[in-house]
Symmetry: C2
Amino acid sequence: MPPEKDNPRAWDKSHYHLACVEDAVAKAHQICSEKGVRLTPTRLRILELIWRSHKPIGAYALLDEIKLEHKSAAPPTVYRALDFLIEHGLVHRIQSLNAFVGCNDPGHVYSGIILICNDCGDVLEMDDAKISETIALYTNNLGFQLSSQSIEANGTCPGCRG
Amino acid sequence: MPPEKDNPRAWDKSHYHLACVEDAVAKAHQICSEKGVRLTPTRLRILELIWRSHKPIGAYALLDEIKLEHKSAAPPTVYRALDFLIEHGLVHRIQSLNAFVGCNDPGHVYSGIILICNDCGDVLEMDDAKISETIALYTNNLGFQLSSQSIEANGTCPGCRG
DNA sequence: TTTATCACCGTTATAATGTTACATTTTTTA
DNA sequence: TAAAAAATGTAACATTATAACGGTGATAAA
């Protein structure tokens, strides 16, 4: 992770579907209820911690935080919750950082493109059907049956370009 | 990594620029010479090992192999060589697998899209300017200065669809 | 020719990330 | 309520990656 620079207006997130932890929690309850799966206290807590961190957060950072209130927590505690949250589209894993962010539009993802600022470390999720359709088209022409994709872009965010 | 299935004709790679280890080594020598950087014996050996593995290979698997001939090798031996090879575009890192593959078209990359077969574990590199241009366009409209990107797609390759 | 520098490598240790396996508890289902 | 399934606790371990420091050999500067 780059030098910690705090840049609260790194990008314009005004179009985001979820503006705060509370929104994310409400949406998560709704989605889990619709799917008939259980948003247990640990899962909920991990989701909240991810949303309260306004940057991608790693599994062991989550573990440190959750240990403060839940002394017996261990790596599987965190990884199981993350698996659940990712499986149900509530959280994205950022492969290039081994870190996690809340999904901005759960239950409605075409293709999540993750933009990562190399200066401040903040992330923007960009959903675009066109790009994922293009990739699906190209891969289908090769006879490849696409099941998932991950697009991560590195660069400098508007806030850090100054 | 999925169950080991050996599927030598998983995809049509007839369009690949580099067909074998020897091609890859020759091209690497050429590129390093043009850039004035040193393709030392260890770097060359790691590149060969990556190309001889016809699947993505992890750093510690490379370490095991190189230890057979070079008893004193340790993790930094491998990671330093990998850093070099990646920096000069000779090797790609596959983020979702923590593994490495030879770049099929070094010195001429628009956007390497990595297709990963979930059944046989083999990988195809697809270079396409259009997709990377589309992403560049979209991110630019957000004021994001793009420096690099990684696109990985999971699914089933033609060979494994049967 | 000495001395400084630099890139590369050897070596040891350790950090960071992620998983297995099995026991226990809680919740749901029959 | 009893059986089954889902979730969690717990300890140990596996995998991936980096830090730190010293040595070596080539090249450049004094």
